[in-house]
């Protein structure tokens, strides 16, 4: 029973990792870059919702929509300003720029909102499900449902729509896709928008689970989600889901049965192990690529 409860805890954290890992993996698949600012978009999303609901006193549903929309726009904006000019630059330049954007977002929110932890105004009061002595918190159920919906929708979008096919084509070969009449710029913008919107959803789920919003909230979870994306195979959408869930489970089980102190070390140890043994990840296509 304890094991089962711990697995549920792992699913809870893992679903959020998966949602964030989707953003990493989509951007990598299309733009062939690791968007290290992705974790901080979670934070921006949470703050936008906080401002909309706690400061401007807008209804919760409106606040959530504004949060998701703002992050989608921010994603497109960051791509246009920071990454697009570097599309022909060496990968290292793009990587450093992404880290720069990440610091920019964190420092900007530190200046605007200060380092004080704010109480997130949205809590979803969903009753817990009790089966015997097993309690599944309502929040966990919500996270699982929302994450599943997002993943299924994304899967359908990529595989069943024209825009999704364009994304697949661009990720296969940018130049060939352009020759075939795919608008590469539009497709990349769309990818950033979708990835960032998912980050906003993750930000809302994260902040409502753990109650507080603060400028560095996205950094650790962003890195963990990156590990999840690598574990599952960066560039692969099902891989991101699998990697996220697996990482959550591993983290929870290592905290329970090994050591709470070492749980982060174990998580990052996995990253090293994957890179050594199977650099393309569990579900990734193996092809030589420089990151």
């Amino acid at each position: 029973m304890k094991l089962l409860s711990q697995l549920i805890n792992g699913l809870n954290a893992g679903s959020i990792y998966a949602l964030i890992a989707l953003g990493y993996t989509m951007v990598y698949g299309i733009a062939k870059m690791i968007n290290f600012a992705h974790g901080d978009i979670i934070m921006v999303g949470a703050y936008v919702v906080w401002v909309a609901i706690a400061v401007l006193k807008l209804p919760v549903s409106v606040g959530l929509i504004i949060g998701v929309a703002a992050c989608a726009v921010l994603g497109i904006f960051i791509e246009k300003v920071a990454y697009k000019p570097l599309r022909k630059a060496p990968p290292l330049a793009v990587l450093i720029t992404a880290i720069g954007v990440s610091y920019f977002l964190q420092s900007a929110s530190l200046l605007i909102f200060s380092s004080a932890k704010r109480t997130f105004p949205v809590s979803f009061d969903i009753p817990a499900i009790t089966i015997g002595s097993l309690v599944v918190p309502g929040q966990t159920i919500l996270i699982l449902v929302v994450t599943s919906i997002c993943m299924i929708a994304l899967h359908l979008f990529i595989n069943k729509t024209k825009a999704g096919s364009a994304m697949l084509a661009v990720s296969e070969d940018k130049d060939a896709a352009q020759l075939m009449g795919v608008n590469v710029n539009k497709t990349i913008s769309m990818t950033f928008a979708i990835g960032s919107a998912l980050a906003a959803v993750a930000g809302v789920l994260f902040a409502s689970s753990y109650v507080y919003v603060y400028p560095t909230m996205g950094s650790l979870i962003g890195i963990k989600a990156f590990v999840a994306a690598v574990l599952g195979g960066i560039g692969s959408v099902p891989g991101a889901m699998l990697g996220g869930i697996l990482l959550g489970l591993i983290e929870s089980l290592s905290k329970t049965y090994l050591s709470t102190q070492l749980s982060n070390a174990i998580v990052f140890g996995i990253l090293i192990l994957v890179l050594l043994v199977r650099p393309s990840g569990l579900l990734g296509k193996s092809r030589t690529e420089k990151v």
Binding site: S5, A13, S123, T130, G138, Y212, Y214, K255, T260
Partner: protein
């Protein structure tokens, strides 16, 4: 590099000491005695530092309004150290550069450990309002207003086992924090010595936000109560998540809990929680009520124990100056063991080891408010 810094520090310190000796010789009324210090004014422990600073400001205002100490006016120079080691060293160097005559700080244990050696080398009187780690007062120039970590752990263990009759206890603490670890270790030892069983000993590290795994383990362990020797922000996270998981164990805490209600959207979640504190704002004692009233007028807030510690810290320095009849650092330090201060955190004297002799109070959270437990 380090040597150079130490050298320059010592130089600065000697000029400062020389300077203050010079001041003390003059008996003019216009002298100023600068109390330097640092504490977290930003970051996740900001509530502590801001409280200490405001408490100290209030005490200094009262003392100066009444004519100062032996005609000397007090001045506060209190900087932000984010509760971290490096900023604490920088802040200390800065206040010393600006001519501090005594140090009120630091507020938290880790930054205290970072500067205590420096203050000892400079030979300056250092009063920490609230750094409770055992080693904070290992040098003879350092004294503290609050209780030590081990003492807190022992007191809470005795209370949990003997007074409340709990037999199976769970502990959840921050293994990366000296304060949390110190209280937890002493609690566990004492509880075992008193015949209780520690059914779960779980830990986390600084900046963790997910405590679900540890709480699930604790829940399954069949504990009677959960002891949380943690800072208020962590306590708030844990209380929220315990509530989400449907855990209704009685909670016990250490003095870091002070401020937890301000972090909870629904303060009633902490109802029944009992923690140790040297100060309660609803203590009927006359000096406490006078302090609470003055503090409310000045800052529009109810003072917590950190404000009280900062307030008492200034009055302790005042008593030391009066006893020593001088502002010379060595004389002030010598005077510390001879003074008795009737502060808002209790009547206290100091041992040569730097520890206060005073009694502990327990605070219970009732209807979402702190209440002094008799």
């Amino acid at each position: 590099m380090k040597l150079k810094k130490l050298l320059s520090l010592t130089l600065i310190a000697s000029t400062v000491v020389a300077g203050t000796v010079g001041c003390a010789k003059k008996d003019a009324g216009g002298d100023v005695f600068m109390i330097g210090g640092s504490g977290p004014l930003t970051g996740s422990a900001a509530s502590y530092g801001i409280s200490v600073k405001q408490g100290a400001e209030l005490a200094i205002k009262e003392i100066n309004d009444a004519g100062g100490v032996n005609g000397i006016k007090l001045e506060l120079n209190f900087l932000d150290d984010e509760a971290k080691a490096q900023p604490a060293i920088a802040a200390y160097n800065k206040v010393m550069d600006e001519g501090a005559d005594a140090i009120l700080g630091t507020v938290t244990s880790d930054s205290m450990l970072a500067i205590t050696e420096l203050t000892n080398e400079d030979g300056i009187l250092q009063i920490t309002p609230s750094a409770s780690v055992q080693e904070a007062t290992k040098y003879e120039n350092a004294f503290r207003v609050c209780f030590t970590d081990p003492l807190q752990g022992v007191t809470m263990a005795d209370y949990a086992v003997e007074t409340l009759g709990y037999k199976n206890l769970a502990v959840l603490y921050n293994v990366a924090d000296n304060y949390s670890k110190g209280v937890a270790t002493a609690f566990i030892e004492e509880a075992k010595a008193k015949g209780a069983t520690i059914v779960a000993e779980e830990s986390f590290v600084t900046d963790d936000v997910d405590f679900n795994t540890q709480l699930t383990t604790i829940k399954a362990a069949g504990a009677d109560a959960l002891f949380l020797p943690v800072y208020y922000q962590d306590a708030a996270y844990i209380i929220n998540q315990a509530n989400q998981q449907g855990i209704t164990l009685p909670l016990l805490g250490s003095d870091g809990w002070d401020g937890v209600l301000g972090q909870l959207e629904d303060a009633s979640l902490a109802n029944g929680g009992i923690f140790l504190s040297p100060f309660a704002a609803n203590d009927p004692a006359e000096n406490v009520q006078k302090f609470v009233k003055a503090y409310q007028e000045e800052f529009d807030a109810v003072p917590d124990q950190f404000a009280a510690d900062g307030y008492d810290g200034v009055y302790i320095i005042k008593a030391a100056i009066e006893k020593a009849g001088s502002t010379d650092s060595a004389k002030l330090i010598a005077a510390m063991t001879e003074i008795e201060v009737d502060g808002v955190t209790g009547k206290m004297t100091f041992t040569p080891e730097g520890e206060p002799n005073k009694s502990a109070k327990l605070i219970e959270i009732v209807n979402g408010e702190y209440q002094l437990k008799q």
